[in-house]
């Protein structure tokens, strides 16, 4: 590892810790940092209300933001490298569209509408993961037949569009109440994950991130192009399955718990490349994780801006920050396509 890379990574770790602390303290009820530290280290203290707010609402939310922020760009980077396409992202293969379709079926048919909290109910998790898994299986099947990555990418985009159309039809024929709940889910939210759900969410995401690190050497070889990678001894087919599996698990699980969070997956890898000026995935992957987590924490704090009047939709914030950034990237590096 080159020295400046190490320094930048350490800086990002420190930034992440600061932002996480701020995220815990920030909200309609301000809790001083010293009290937060006291509560996390096990001393509940006198103020029961603060303790509930921090331990049961904000801590799961902050952890979710960090985990989702780490994982989404990892899925994005894997796909950008694998498809050799700067605008590839976790939602591009139709995986999160698949999740949305299944969640739409469930929510718009009114099955789970009786539950008070829409976010994170078990049926929705099951629906989103199985929707992602179904698309994954289709993509796996297609990728065996279609060897060309560009064709597969176009297939994924078309697949996503078709699914969105079906979701649109479902929305058109659904009740007002169900529609609103579904729309809320598509806005994305970090608030839906409870401490118990975190017991599922965290291990899956952390395992995926470790798995991604073990893929980094293979991803580096893919930068040489598929033919050179193959002649360097890379099992390209196996790598393809691993990349698709990793992307689907990350996207499916996060979509289930937080809704389809936009733009983090596609924008953060570019930010990491600009900041580190490197292609080595052994450094880019941790860089993406740290930058993604920091950005999602900032987005989460921005959703609190209305204060007493509730919170802004997370996807509105990520899109407001992400869309201009992606346009800026394409604008500034018009040779971006040649680089890949």
């Amino acid at each position: 590892m080159r020295h400046p890379d190490k320094t930048k990574l350490i800086f990002l770790v420190v930034l992440l810790i600061v932002l996480a602390a701020l995220d815990l303290s920030f909200g309609t009820v301000q809790v001083p940092l010293s009290d937060i530290w006291r509560m996390i280290t096990g001393d509940v203290g006198e103020d029961q209300l603060w303790s509930i707010i921090i331990m049961e609402i904000r801590l799961p939310k902050t952890c979710t933001a960090i985990l989702a922020g780490c994982a989404l760009p990892v899925a994005g980077l894997c796909m950008q490298t694998y498809f050799r396409n700067p605008v590839a992202g976790p939602d591009i293969l139709g995986v999160s569209a698949g999740s949305s379709l299944f969640v739409a079926f469930l929510m718009l048919s009114g099955i789970s509408i009786t539950s008070a909290s829409v976010f994170g109910t078990v049926p929705i998790i099951l629906a989103a993961v199985s929707g992602a898994a179904l698309v994954l299986i289709v993509i796996l099947f297609v990728s065996v037949r279609i060897r060309d990555t560009m064709t597969l990418l176009i297939f994924g985009i078309m697949f996503g569009m078709a699914i969105s159309a079906v979701v649109g039809v479902l929305q058109y024929y659904s009740e007002r109440g169900a529609l609103k709940l579904f729309m809320l889910w598509t806005f994305g939210s970090l608030n839906g994950v409870t401490l118990e759900q975190l017991n599922w969410f965290a291990p899956i995401i952390i395992l995926s991130l470790i798995g991604a690190m073990f893929l980094s050497g293979k991803l580096n070889l893919l930068l040489l192009g598929e033919q050179y990678a193959k002649s360097s001894g890379l099992n390209v087919r196996q790598t393809r399955y691993l990349v698709i599996l990793l992307t689907a698990v990350i996207t499916g699980v996060i979509t289930a718990f937080c809704g389809p969070i936009a733009f983090i997956g596609i924008a953060v890898p570019h930010l990491a490349r600009m900041l580190f000026r490197i292609n080595d995935h052994r450094i880019l992957l941790p860089a993406c994780m740290l930058i993604g987590a920091c950005i999602l924490l900032i987005c989460d704090m921005l959703t609190q801006i209305p204060g007493e009047d509730g919170i802004l939709p997370l996807n509105a914030i990520t899109a407001c920050m992400g869309a201009p950034f992606v346009i800026f990237i394409i604008w500034k590096q018009q040779h971006v396509a040649n680089q890949f």
Partner: protein, 258 residues
Amino acid sequence: METAGPIVHTAQLSIGYPDKMIASDIRFDILPGTFTAILGHNGTGKSTLLKTIADLQKSISGEVCIDNKPIPDYSVFEKSRLISIVLSNRNEIVQTLRVYEVLSLAVAPHREWYRKLSAREQQSIEEMAAQLGIDRFMNRQLFSLSDGEMQKVAIARALLQNTPILLLDEPTAHLDLHHKIEIYLLLQSLARSGKTIICTSHDVELAVKSASHGLLIGEGRAQFNPMRTLIDSGAISQYFTAGNVQFNSAALRFDYSL
């Protein structure tokens, strides 16, 4: 590889795509330490043959054997210890990579993410870079290199793979004469040091002068022989003589009038 037998061998090979046969009845026995030039007009299947030997493309029928074992029977990893390749399109490799990144991927392709390059690996990269004269721009990104510089990086990458067989697809395309000669001299000396070189080329004059063997491919068929035999039998001059372009077998050059 001191065995007397051929290192690359095929008896009855047909190449092309499932719906389009490009050449058939190809046979050759390539000995270790020889330099074979695959010659032919555009579209006759030179690159297809090269990629079939590298097992980057399936043959239509027949198989290429290395050390008497069909190539598809080797694992991907075993193949990477036998054959290295230089492809003709420089954009195969992501052009934002730096030269040292490409070379370190060649010397330790399957390094786990927590392992650094060993001192020996580092040293072999430096030696190879010095040998090919690319040590001056190890930190530059590929897109900033000229075609000649890029070609040397690609060759250094393949050589660092340290395989007995080296395949090159038109290594001198887009290069000026000076660089072309440099590359052919390098290939010649590599063959003398024991590597088996197989290379496609449009630079007939240079290839004829430097290669020990020739594989002439055209009209769906192929002819493999020592280069001297191909020249003396008139096969080369017959193949490349058309209109007012004539191959001069005595001077090993093209004669033409404009």
